[in-house]
């Protein structure tokens, strides 16, 4: 059980308000991802939920019971830190068993839970090693193991994969998603990597400077971003934003079109190909001199051959164009 509600939660460090009053509900069993640019307050929000920082105002409830004044240990939440924060002088076994030991659990139950967690996370062979003798991915798994043995109401992850290399990151991403499938426990996951957000989340919370810009499922955010910030933040490569005449022409202050929603070959837009990136499955073109924006990024499926300097014609899929008003808000 892990339904977490934030009501008017606010955080100030001295005079600076890092999180202005904010409301958010996280349903039981949900995988929620906080995304946003660096310094927008994702970690701070997570630490407020964890109880590692005191709120400056507002209330936090976990399963309906007020948790605002509870110490971290009493909130039944488990956290996985970016630096893993393993205890270096303890073996993996002791690391994983530490929360159980602190809870005063009896030896047999402790061993059972540790061994089960080790099995789930493929750590059985490493139980007697110290964290210093493990690889980054293994350390990550120990940190997760330490979190799952407590059977918490919710897991909190603060950029857990950012210290891993790209291949391992994809692997661990999958493992965490599978873990969520199996445990069905609420998970709150902080990242600034929007690919992680898109692939893992049930619900994404986009933050900017402590404000929630939009909350929704990955595809909601992709299809109907509430404003320009979300539109540009979600999706890779970034959405093209065009203002000026072309936008006015469509009754908007600015229009946005994702690279994958522009067809190549013919159409009313014309430009010159700059760099092209051949990914095999797709080809990305950076198109200049269109008179619309500095550069328009286009994603064409398969292998399409244009050389640098070639003229290219583009046509946006009109039903996929997003329109924004002068405040950057979406026009329905």
């Amino acid at each position: 059980m892990g339904r977490i509600t934030l009501e008017k939660v606010q955080k100030k460090f001295g005079e600076t308000e890092v999180i202005p009053p904010l409301d958010l509900t996280i349903e039981d069993g949900e995988f929620v991802v906080f995304v946003g640019p660096s310094g927008c307050g994702k970690s701070t929000l997570l630490r407020l939920i964890a109880g590692l920082e005191d709120v400056s105002g507002g209330d936090i409830k976990i399963d309906g019971t007020p948790a605002t004044d509870l110490p971290p240990a009493k909130r039944r939440l488990a956290m996985v830190f970016q630096s893993y924060a393993l205890y270096p002088h303890m073996t993996v076994r002791k690391n994983i068993a530490f929360p159980l030991k602190m809870a005063g659990m009896d030896e047999a139950e402790k061993t059972r839970r540790v061994e089960r967690a080790a099995e789930v996370l493929n750590l059985t062979n490493f139980l007697d090693r110290r964290p210093g003798q493990l690889s980054g991915g293994q350390r990550q798994r120990v940190a997760i193991g330490r979190a799952i043995v407590r059977e918490p109401a919710a897991f909190l992850f603060d950029e857990p994969l950012s210290n891993l290399d790209a291949a391992l990151r994809v692997g661990m991403r999958l493992e965490i998603s599978e873990l969520h499938e199996r445990l069905k426990t609420t998970m709150i996951y902080v990242t600034h990597d929007q690919v992680e957000a898109m692939t893992m989340a049930d619900k994404i919370v986009v933050l900017r400077a402590g404000h929630i810009e939009q909350v929704g499922s990955p595809l909601d955010l992709y299809r109907t971003p509430r404003n320009r910030f979300v539109a540009e933040f979600i999706g890779s490569p970034k959405m093209n934003v065009i203002d000026g005449e072309e936008a006015a022409h469509r009754d908007a202050h600015a229009i946005g079109i994702r690279p994958e929603h522009i067809d190549v070959g013919e159409g009313q837009w014309e430009g010159r190909v700059g760099v092209s990136e051949h990914l095999g499955s797709d080809t990305l073109f950076h198109v200049h001199d269109t008179g619309l924006a500095d550069v328009i990024t286009v994603r064409a499926p398969g292998e399409v051959n244009y050389k640098s300097g070639d003229a290219i014609r583009l046509s946006p899929q009109t039903d996929k164009i997003h329109r924004f008003d002068d405040k950057g808000l979406r026009i329905a």
């Binding site: 964890a50 109880g51 590692l52 110490p71 971290p72 240990a73 939440l77 488990a78 956290m79 830190f81 970016q82 630096s83 924060a85 393993l86 205890y87 270096p88 002088h89 303890m90 530490f98 929360p99 602190m102 809870a103 330490r146 407590r150």
Partner: protein, 290 residues
């Protein structure tokens, strides 16, 4: 220094300093050993015949010797106990964010800058003196009889003075170590339900293990040869109640002018120091392995 060539070059380059250091060490050591085998008393000029281990048997059978060894060990052990425990306590306190930590830190460190003779004199005359001392005054205010520290408990008093001098050193090293502890580890422990005592015992203390080892090793080296504090306060007395090995060697050589026995005492002190060192390394040396 990875290649064969660079290693050879390195050996060649450090050779002069190694030779110098060896000479620096070996010549005095050799002379001490040589003197310890002679009958060599400055009050009896003339021949200095070779007498084998006679000086050693004199020194070791001296009733003061046993007292000196026991006192040396008590002094080292007592001061280590007080400074390590006190140092850990102070380090934990000073690591807390609080108002005025900067000033408190400097105040904590300052005893270390006072030279041993001076601090021993200050303690002797201004604190422990049964007539004029601060402690006597406090006892008087409380209506208790004054306690003559240096006569009634000479060794304990010296342990107190020396601990006061070395506490800053221990605190400083342990505080630095404490500050290198990753705060996320403490936060993780907090989330894991560890109380502040458990966080201290399971996270901070193991983290300090290496620093504690360093403190113990370094202090032991210096504490084995405590001299000034004894000389200034009790001069080894009353009787032999507060002599240590260093002080006994001093008595032999500079008060009885017996260079031979004093040298034998010096060699015995070296051997004892090494025994202590071996024990220490056995007990806590593994903490230094990475």
């Amino acid at each position: 220094m990875a290649t064969q060539h660079s290693r050879a070059a390195a050996r060649f380059m450090i050779a002069p300093s190694v030779v110098l250091l060896l000479a620096w060490m070996l010549i005095p050591l050799g002379m001490t050993i040589w003197f310890s085998l002679l009958r060599y008393n400055l009050l009896m000029p003339g021949e200095n015949p070779f007498v084998g281990f006679e000086n050693y048997s004199y020194f070791l059978s001296d009733p003061a010797f046993q007292t000196a060894v026991i006192n040396t060990l008590l002094l080292v052990g007592g001061v280590l106990l007080i400074t390590v425990c006190g140092g850990i306590g102070l380090a934990v306190l000073l690591d807390q964010p609080m108002w005025g930590t900067g000033i408190v830190r400097i105040m904590v460190i300052s005893p270390f800058f006072v030279m041993p003779t001076v601090s021993a004199l200050v303690w002797k005359n201004m604190f422990m003196n049964p007539v004029n001392g601060l402690f006597a005054y406090v006892a008087d205010v409380l209506g208790l009889p004054a306690y003559d520290f240096l006569t009634a408990a000479p060794l304990a008093s010296i342990i107190g003075i020396v601990s006061w001098q070395w506490l800053p050193f221990a605190t400083l090293i342990l505080l630095t170590a404490m500050q290198s502890l990753d705060s996320e580890q403490l936060e993780a422990a907090e989330m894991d339900g560890a109380s502040s005592w458990s966080r201290f015992y399971y996270i901070k203390l193991p983290h300090l293990a290496r620093a504690i080892t360093v403190v113990i090793l370094i202090q032991t080296i210096f504490l084995l040869s405590i001299f000034a504090e004894i000389y200034v306060t009790t001069a080894g007395g009353p009787g032999n109640a507060s002599i240590n090995l260093t002080y006994l060697v001093f008595q032999e050589s500079l008060q009885r002018y017996d260079v031979g026995t004093a040298s034998a005492g010096g060699v015995v002190a070296i051997i004892l120091a090494n025994i202590v060192a071996i024990f220490l390394m056995r007990m806590i040396g593994k903490n230094l392995d990475a």
